[in-house]
Subunit: 418 residues, 2 copies
């Protein structure tokens, strides 16, 4: 198998498809999405049969229960994919909208117009629903997509992609608007992420190891987030009731996701009052606490935190706690150990709020609210292809607009430069 | 010399400086820029002395006259740098402006606010004025900058950077807001462009070889343009007088720059009338023409173009000419051989115009105007740090706004996620 040739050919086909996609009006793209949803539902039996093969292979390969759970497709999960496709059809199409327009003194009209990015490569891991979700967002924004899913979900992903293509093509989708790499050799990823000129953007979705591997090999721009090491800082001016409730929510409501907090910073002036109450509350929720030396003095029964704990993404019911002497110390800690994702201050003092939102170098900074709101849906974007902790192009939740770029269209009457 | 340690230390210092810069109000940054301009003027003698060393070394190393010309600093060029600094001071500061704001049903206020990118690395070649120009744009947008100029301009660049720092620091600029790598080992570039977490963006400015080297080594995002292979397409519906004037301007007004055209496409229906007139005009301007087989039939005295000529950036008074049977063929040619920079259609037919601007995948597409207008100044941006042929973050001329990113600031009253 000549992997280089296969991936290059996919790139060429995607480029052609992208040009055709860019010409489709919104109503045509929406009809395609609706037909995809219908086809996913009608193909439920075939998708489940393919999925059963993946699950059985996974079981034999010794996948953990958590991984098997992510892999398995139930009727409800298949319906949920179809609902997702229909909800993307209902969103406003950003393609073709005018970002700005101005006239130069020489009469040239300059229009900055939103256009598709072109060809997007998605590299992801075990959840097969990513196949449908990301295809829908790319189709809506008229981007051709090349999908590379995890090897443990290959049969499921191919069945889903086949349904998407069959449904979409019935309504005029270009054949190569959605392509899936149908073999598992790793070399395919390297080819894909180095295909400058044919692929415009790579979005990796998965664990830190996957994302690092993609970033290190890529020549094509990558938008990513490595991890979510989020913080709540409780200022000395905080409403402590609010601080309790927000901390509990940010840690416990769904500890395995990127916008849950991993560490809590508490101003030393309020720590002696706040921490015992918090510890009691968190203990009831089954949270294990690891604390700095100062925290240990207040909560003698907890474990000591080590330097390695501060940048750690627990993704579990574990919380690191540190006391700080000032908002500046909290900011420094967050910028040093955090992941530039989401961080919150609980404070009534406006100077402290201002300093925090100014200096914390994160995609989303919160005043008196839980970090759990960093999410395309919670932001009102309607859909999300990921959350970026990068600073270029897209930062924070990425919706449809972030899957577009712009071009300048300059119209004249024969103007030349003197 | 431990290059790794030196560059890492520069990165840490830049990160600190960036945080301090982000807090400066616009009037403070403008005072810094004005003081830099004064200091550049007052240091003219020292800058010229340093420059004389570079020029003498360059002469002995056998630099071409063109390269020596780019290197040499006259009183006028030094004044021009100072004027550039003052004109950047006069521009509107984009930092802190609100891009959008909305309230969610749960009462959360979400503000999308423009903020500095952080730390920007500039890797460039021989023109020493780039030191002042890029420092000014980075300072205005509160980004710390690490400069890596060409080895042939090292003494000049260091003298300019010293003046910028001395002037700026008198008005409160953080010491490490502007840093220049003061040695010429190539390893420094690799360290710089791989310093994830300390450098946020790399902008290479120079020839294609420099830009490829930077892109291939980089882990940090890069915004670039490799080359400017721009086109004019003369449609069958074109006003041929206009086509003559625009083609002559786009080719001849300044052939050595990226937005000059390298190739002309002419609809076969008008080629027999248009090409002889054009050839006569271009001959008077000293332009050498290379043509496709069809063009040769109309202009028998010219040289035949080869396949290798179509993607070539002549940067000189040379023009490749090809006849095409349709606007679609013109678009395909441009997307295949062009560099996604600037391309123009000369046409009266609106369908042809529409097809062209829709399908040509370039940063800037023109209807009835010269490609020479792709420029920050001509677009009214007031300043330009480069022209991007990438699609992510910035496309086309990059002004001050393109040197910023955004963060979300979310303010609540203790909202938690259910």
């Amino acid at each position: 198998m000549d992997i280089h040739a296969i991936i290059q050919e996919m790139g060429l086909r995607a480029r052609d498809a992208a040009q055709q996609l860019a010409r489709l009006p919104a109503r045509r793209k929406n009809a395609i999405l609706m037909a995809m949803a219908d086809e996913i539902e009608q193909s439920a039996a075939a998708i489940k049969a393919a999925n059963a093969v993946d699950v059985e292979n996974g079981r034999q390969a010794g996948l953990s229960d958590a991984m098997l759970d992510r892999l398995v497709l139930t009727d409800e999960r298949i319906s949920s994919m179809a609902r997702g496709l229909r909800s993307v059809a209902a969103l406003k199409d950003p393609v073709g909208t005018r970002i700005s327009r101005w006239i130069r003194p020489n009469g040239l009209e300059i229009v900055k117009q939103r256009v598709p990015i072109g060809v997007i490569g998605i590299v992801y891991e075990s959840r097969p629903n990513v196949t449908a979700d990301t295809s829908a967002l790319c189709l809506k924004t008229a981007n051709a997509v090349i999908l590379r899913g995890g090897k443990e979900a290959l049969a499921s992903n191919l069945a889903i992609a086949a349904a998407l293509k069959a449904g979409g093509m019935r309504k005029g989708m270009p054949e190569f608007a959605i392509q899936m790499i149908d073999f598992t050799e790793r070399e395919a990823v390297r080819e894909l992420v180095q295909m400058e000129g044919k692929v415009d953007l790579i979005i990796p979705r998965g664990g830190e190891a996957l994302i690092r591997a993609v970033t290190e090999q890529a020549r094509v721009p990558v938008i990513k987030h490595y991890k979510g090491v989020c913080h709540v800082y409780v200022d000395e001016s905080a409403d402590l009731e609010m601080a309790l409730s927000v901390t509990e929510n940010a840690k416990c409501q769904r500890p395995g996701v990127c916008n849950a907090i991993e560490a809590l910073l508490v101003h030393e002036a309020v720590a002696p009052v706040f921490l015992p109450e918090l510890a009691q509350k968190l203990e009831q929720r089954g949270v294990k606490i690891k604390g700095c030396a100062n925290t240990l003095k207040i909560l003698p029964k907890i474990e000591a935190a080590t330097e390695a704990d501060w940048p750690n993404e627990w993704l579990d019911l574990v919380l690191s706690i540190k006391t700080v002497a000032s908002v500046e110390e909290a900011v420094d800690h967050i910028n040093t150990y955090g992941s530039h994702h989401s961080d919150a201050i609980i404070a009534e003092n406006e100077q402290a709020q201002k300093r925090f939102v100014q200096d914390v170098d994160s995609s989303t900074v919160y005043i008196n609210a839980s970090t759990r709101f960093t999410d395309g849906g919670e932001f009102g974007m309607g859909a999300e292809i990921g959350i970026s902790t990068d600073k270029l192009h897209a930062r924070g939740p990425m919706g449809l607009e972030e899957l577009t770029t712009y071009k300048y269209i300059v119209a004249g009457k024969g103007q030349i430069r003197e």
